[in-house]
Symmetry: C2
Subunit: 96 residues, 2 copies
C-alpha cells in the first residue's frame, strides 16, 4: 500500500525538537522524505500498523499532529510538483 | 476531486516569509488547513488548474516546494489522525 505521512510537531521546546527528530527518524525507516514534514511510504499492512504504533509512541498527543493517508497504488507517481524537488521517486533506480 | 496540498517554503528571509503567507492565503481560499503546511482541497478540475497557476506564481521555484496529490473521492475521510486535530472535516456541519 501507499501511505502519505504528514506531521506537525511542536518545536518550541527542547523536548519537542527531540520528538521531531524521533518522528523523522522513524519515518525515514519506512519511506522517502519529499518535504520537511512529508514522507511517501510504500509498505505492507503489517508495516503500516507497526509504523502507526511507533509514531503514536513518539509524539505528545496534546501538542503534535500526525496524519496518514492510505492511497491507491500509483498515487505518488501521479503527484504534481511545483518548485524544487528533494528526492527520486519510489520506482526510479538509485545510481551510485 | 480531492487534492492534498503540502508545501515547504524557505522562511530564512523576509521575502520567504511573505511567500509562505501568500501560499497559505491562496490555499485557504480553496480548502481546509489540517496542519501548518497541509491543506485538504475539494474542488473542480478548473479550480485545480487555477490553484496550481496561482501557487506557481507565488513561489520561488529555486527555494520552495509544493506538492499536490490528486486523490479518489473519500480519501480524506479515510485518513488516520494521531495527536491533536486542528479542524472539522469537509462533510461535517459547521455549527455557529
Amino acid at each position: 500500500m501507499e501511505l502519505l505521512i504528514t506531521y506537525d510537531v511542536d518545536t518550541t521546546t527542547p523536548q519537542g525538537r527531540r520528538r521531531l527528530r524521533r518522528v523523522a527518524k522513524i519515518c525515514e525507516g519506512y519511506g522517502i522524505r519529499v518535504q520537511k514534514s512529508v514522507f511517501e511510504v510504500v509498505c505492507s499492512e503489517a508495516d503500516w500498523l507497526l509504523l502507526h504504533h511507533r509514531l503514536l509512541d513518539a509524539i505528545d498527543s496534546e501538542h503534535d499532529s500526525i496524519r496518514s493517508y492510505p492511497l491507491p497504488r500509483g498515487t505518488f507517481s501521479a503527484a504534481h510538483h511545483l518548485g524544487h524537488s528533494p528526492s527520486a521517486g519510489h520506482d526510479e533506480p538509485l545510481i551510485y
